[in-house]
Symmetry: C2
Subunit: 253 residues, 2 copies
Amino acid sequence: SNTDQGQRGSLPSSLPSLAESVSQWRDEGRVAVWLHVPILQSSLVAVAASQGFAFHHAEQGSSTLTLWLGEGPSRLPGFATHQVGVAGAVLDESTGRVLVVQDRNKTINAWKFPGGLSNPGEDIGDTAVREVFEETGIKSEFKSILSIRQQHEHPGAFGKSDMYIICRMEPTSFHISFCQHECLRCEWMDLEELARTENTTPITSNVAKLLLFGYREGFDRIDITMREFPAVYTGLFYKLYHRELPESYRNMT
Amino acid sequence: SNTDQGQRGSLPSSLPSLAESVSQWRDEGRVAVWLHVPILQSSLVAVAASQGFAFHHAEQGSSTLTLWLGEGPSRLPGFATHQVGVAGAVLDESTGRVLVVQDRNKTINAWKFPGGLSNPGEDIGDTAVREVFEETGIKSEFKSILSIRQQHEHPGAFGKSDMYIICRMEPTSFHISFCQHECLRCEWMDLEELARTENTTPITSNVAKLLLFGYREGFDRIDITMREFPAVYTGLFYKLYHRELPESYRNMT
């Protein structure tokens, strides 16, 4: 844990005192120094950089720098590595039709499920509900996760990785009113047609086939369902997604 | 897309010229400005901040700032929001025992699966293999994903969210040689005992029950399996995880 061994503090206001402090912390056997710098005092960041500090991360009005003083390569934890995108496969079970869009500003006009990036602190299912509504005007409810894709050096992710999750959603409204800025077209398409068409992405085609399998043979064959649990150390709650577990196993003690 | 409408460029070297440039970009109808600043020139960050710029992100030797000039709240994409942690549930099918550890430096000495944070650009299964080996000395192979947990404001994630994934692993070595820095204890424990014990976390207990269900009734009941696909726009490949899809559905056209 970094707080055990690291040094947190405010930045000394001049070069000599920072150099002296670093020297002292090194002598004391500290393995790392963390600095938090308000953006308007960023001239001090250059001073710290000249002493070997580098950015750990920065957000809005402040940056955080680190200097590793321990042996070998830094063992400090990194910053967030993934953005999370969520799409909703909204299936109208009464008609067998699924909600699809074609993005504006893409070279290939492929049918896909409406979706977008999660906001900070937003749950997977909530992103799906929000993005489906923003793009298509359709209201829907989260049922399960269908698929998870991990991709590194994702375009538009600033060199970071992307986790893209497709959810099974149940519509609670049916009249399409789609976002003209984001979408070129939006419609309820027969699920089997989507599963067979070439005018789509490999992942959409694959998940359409999976959803068709579930629609015909039972959603329990494809669903990754959600349960809520209390977190052990923090008193927070979290959502856990996995295959349905029979009651007899859930309750065993 | 931000590149269509935004302005990318190097930072003018003085306050008046940045103010003039921003004014000009605004007049030209630009909706956003992105600035990339090398860490040793961070005094310019303070200058930009006084013109309304804020950090978008920073890593190692440079920071990126943005200024939104468009109407309403910023529609610029955010930076990575999640760290990804991966644990391995390594089950020796011949004995019905599973590999468990107790963390050092935790107040509650609960049995859990070995695991840790993904390195940048590392696939889920590769993190599981690496972390299991680093913590326990056991070599293993990735079989499937068993569960995904999402938690916000995760302790130790610098205010960001955490995605914690438990994988089903098959051991290819059996002699434990555990990391004394990270672990207090490490052993092969009977899976049913782990599923029943109170000396564990809720998530470990739950996934132990799930794994026991799969061990007894078939892993196809619990597995979220992996397939590799080509990415459509980039020529990259990605890994997609979902429930097993029958051949007849996979190959439909």
